[in-house]
């Protein structure tokens, strides 16, 4: 059914010509910028303070949770996140399925994201044409859907190999990391490095991603064949993440975007209480970078002060930063990397708790 004409191929190649290159936080020193911004107003000042709080997290005896929603991994921040894990600047990750599966694991298999070409009409492509060409669009970023299908299939294969069982997303993602070590085409993948460093990754809505396609196929076929299958228990995610929070003691949150990951990681404090850990402390440090408007009453946009009414986050060291994250994450991360507070940090290797 697919059109294999050379015209189509050429057009597709033309649209997928410019690779998104991930920024390297180590290649420039953002410290003087961050220091200057701290003395300004508005979002600059907020960014300056957020960077300071992130450095406090790294200096303090404190577990750092990197919390990801949105598409910054596709949009050029993937190496920053991978470097954070590699350099012991993060102890656990909570993320959307897309960030982990469609974006990082996808690139781990050797695929790329592309910058949509700027055309005179200035839009980001004619979506009907893109559909015909099997190009998926994330705002101004393109993905070759045929490549993305390879992800679905790899997930299917990993599930087939596991065969049967009720797993947390963390346990499944660990298998994905192992797969990348063996078959991956990119060393600098978050999933892979996290696997190697025992940094657990949680996707509380794991099936809401390319992983879902492979897993549903796996289940449907095995149900048809009368076999057991792999299930992803989101309660296990919450249970395990709460155990980590209890084990961690003091904790800090570096949140990019909102959504399920934001709420999920914050809720571990309440969950610990319900399990009888009355002395579980609120998240001591918290940063959220988002452009969401508080006035819609949704969780993604809710302030960290609001979270403190729920007993989740302490109000002393919290900072919201109003910015499209790809513009400020490189500055915040570069500042922290160059200040080197991560150098003396103890490796937590929380992933080992579940081995």
């Amino acid at each position: 059914m697919t059109d294999h004409s050379p015209e189509r191929s050429n057009r597709k190649a033309e649209l997928l010509a410019n690779v998104v290159e991930h920024i390297d936080m180590k290649s420039f020193d953002a410290r003087p910028i961050i220091e200057a911004m701290e003395k300004m107003s508005f979002s600059s000042r907020d960014l300056g303070r957020a960077a300071k709080i992130y450095n406090m997290m790294l200096e303090d005896e404190c577990a750092v949770f990197l919390v990801l929603a949105g598409s910054t991994s596709a949009g050029g921040c993937m190496d920053v996140y991978a470097d954070m894990v590699k350099n012991n600047m993060v102890d656990a990750v909570v993320a959307t399925g897309a960030s982990i599966v469609d974006m990082d694991f996808f690139e781990g298999l050797g695929f790329k994201h592309y910058q949509a070409p700027l055309d005179e009409a200035g839009g980001n492509g004619d979506d009907n044409e893109l559909r015909d060409l099997y190009i998926d669009r994330i705002y101004d970023t393109f993905i070759d859907e045929e490549e993305l299908q390879a992800v679905d299939h790899t997930i299917y294969e990993i599930a087939e190999q596991i065969g049967e069982g009720v797993l947390s997303s963390r346990a499944f993602i660990k298998e994905m990391g192992k797969y990348l070590v063996e078959h991956g085409k990119k060393e600098h993948s978050l999933v892979r490095i996290a696997y190697e460093k025992d940094v657990p990754i949680f996707c509380p809505a794991f099936s809401d991603s390319s992983a879902g396609f492979g897993l549903v196929k796996h289940q449907v076929e095995r149900i048809k064949a009368g076999k057991g299958y792999v299930a992803i228990d989101s309660v296990a995610d919450f249970r395990e993440l709460t155990m980590i929070k209890i084990e961690a003691g003091a904790s800090g949150l570096l949140m990019v975007g909102g959504g399920v990951p934001k709420n999920f990681v914050q809720d571990t404090v309440v969950c610990a209480e319900i399990l009888g850990y009355d002395d579980c402390e609120m998240h001591k440090y918290a940063i959220q970078i988002t452009v969401a408007d508080t006035r819609d009453g949704a969780c993604s946009s809710s302030t960290l002060k609001e979270a403190s009414s729920w007993g989740k986050v302490s109000t002393t060291y919290e900072q919201m930063v109003f910015a499209e994250a790809s513009t400020v994450i490189p500055l915040l991360a570069s500042d922290a990397w160059h200040r080197e507070h991560w150098k003396g940090r103890k490796e937590r290797r929380f992933g080992k708790m579940f081995d």
Copy 2:
């Protein structure tokens, strides 16, 4: 540890004095407003067109998915959603856990949401004081945390009664509906009416809600006791929802907010394809009401045209509406209710597919 002084009680009572009352779409006729807005510009015009598309969904032989993220259920739109299910204006629901558990099930048990008082300083409360009083805040709306704990506990009890098994969130929410029929204190609950009408409800990130607390407690205790337990398989959610989409044929989406529910329901088209249903049609109609800004590249804010590049949504009858949803859902719903296209609709009772 909790302070039981009369001062504290009085202060708490003072803060929880004004109940949020849910708007009744049947009590006023929004048709002339919607008709006039269609001839205007900007968001009015978009709302007018969205209402028209919703009416087309109801007229057409088409399954309607109500897709909820954000806090409009807490904020006064809960009766609208319940009435939609009751009056056969919706065939399935995909929602955040909070909408279903913390908000609707919570009120189903007889509890209420409250309007934060307007004080001279004009904020929505001092979050440190609120924490001390066990009052949780959603922007300008208050919840008694002690009441919310009753939800956690009821979920725990329902899980204990089920005992063991791998369930989709839909199957668990069905049990919650049954519980409300037997023990609930409010007839007009979405969870309850959906149960009675076999309208399935899916929460793809079910444990990211008050349900998570009860379920983790259940698992931890039973693991400790060496017993089997209830797991919530998010793959099963995706599998079942895809089956419904395949069964449904033509479909339309009425989306309030974005987040996981939006992406999840759209992805069923792709999932059906992967399962070999190559003729599964894209969602024919789609409406999304959101204030999210497209420029952050996240899924919540992504346009329905972008979704069509992924092959999920057809571009012919789609409409984004830029509005805090509580201001426009009552108008859109009242218009559709008074136009009565729902009167002749066939009941789909998709829930029966899984009995």
Copy 3:
């Protein structure tokens, strides 16, 4: 140089086929909706309270300033504003030049705004094509630029007729009202009705509009000819508006959008003080409808509480409403019209102060 081919004419006619029709607040009764919204949360509740405050303004012995920025006049709210002036619901207007000249005066001369057609590609037109066709775009609204040039020319003629002098924008707009009474093609024009009712209209940045073109042409020609000319003194605007505020005593602001008009009308309180009127009270009531995000630190987005730190607005009866104004102004205005507090109001006819 302009292409007069029939193809071009046809294409232009095709793009300008659907007239924007202004909503009639009298044709539906929004009272039950507004009452229900007051008991909800988020923007609904804010709209409910804003409507209440507007009714308080009308009931109280208080001068009401309608303050307009943005394009709601072009987008279907023009009749609402004209009806407010006609029915004594407003005592003075402060607006952008575009609202008054390009939009209202333009329609007063018999021209129209158009809804951009929805095409499959879904944008609001190819701006390069629009430029070639002399069609100007405001988001999803089109204007025939050749008609707009008639406005420039009429302004030029009015200036020529005045000949020479330093005028406030108010004085010039009064001449425009007079022109419409004599030559206008639409009775229901804000500029015309305001003229007839002695309701003064101020445009603090008057030359930032179609009026600027006609006036610059007038000045350039007369300077070349060595003659005196008309100048528009923005200090006179501020002086006259402050005089009205002093005369008014208690006052209320109904602000749509932000920008210069918002700040200008608020500043009259400070200006009165500087002139020695120490007892000039802050604006007692204030409503602003805007989607601007406070976090950019600009005046348009600044809260009314912030304005109170400057001594401009009292905090007791102020309400921000987060909405694209065309969706809520019709509800707020219809509610006030049907409650009829305007019926007993004294006509202030502030325009007469300067005769």
Copy 4:
């Protein structure tokens, strides 16, 4: 009437303890960051492209207009703007009155802006307390109102010295620059440097600022005394700015925020046409940094593509950047400064056209 107690003084001093320090674009080199961002997605990429376009403006034989709305001058970007003028990176300025008078001229007289203290409650101050203390608030930035009154008074004095005449805002601001050379307390003031470099500054809504207070006082007193007075003719602003555009030939716009300055400078192209300069080219380059949402249909948020439908801006080299400007202006400006394309530029000294 003012409270002069030591408690009040202490409290005020406490609130005005942290001076806003303006960032120095020369003190760090943003080139590697900007280069990396160009290869990313979303706002990073847009910022990278905007920086490239600004460099093109500087390389090309092209007049550069710096266009300012919002409060970035108060919030730490003032030195960037002053340095741009000093280093021949800008040929004319169009701004809100507040940017020029309340912020830059204010600091030129030796006064400062302050960072609002972070308190535990986390707001930006109790506005009722601020009003009592004569502290004015701009989001998270404080101003001593008693110092601001010195600006009003200085403007009054300058007007008194001029005595009588109809001036453009440019002509008046030139006098302000002269005043600063003679009496100012800060060399690095935009108004002062612009005066010295014959870079004209236009404020199309000049009286909508602290200048308005001084000028109204001047007019009222002189009218009472039967004398002539200074008037600020906004038509003259438009006429002069159009003359500069005609003289300039090719032109580029660097716009921070929207509002009147954005529209005003764009309209010069149309105005030139009306004056018979049919060959006046559209603005060849255009950048706008704003967080305004396009969906409200207002001018501030309208895209540069929309401006091209009006024949104002060419679509080839235009770029919107979605960011709170204080976070990105330092990067964009530092990049351009270090690339040194400004070094060979011809000084335009447009101010001399009107001597």
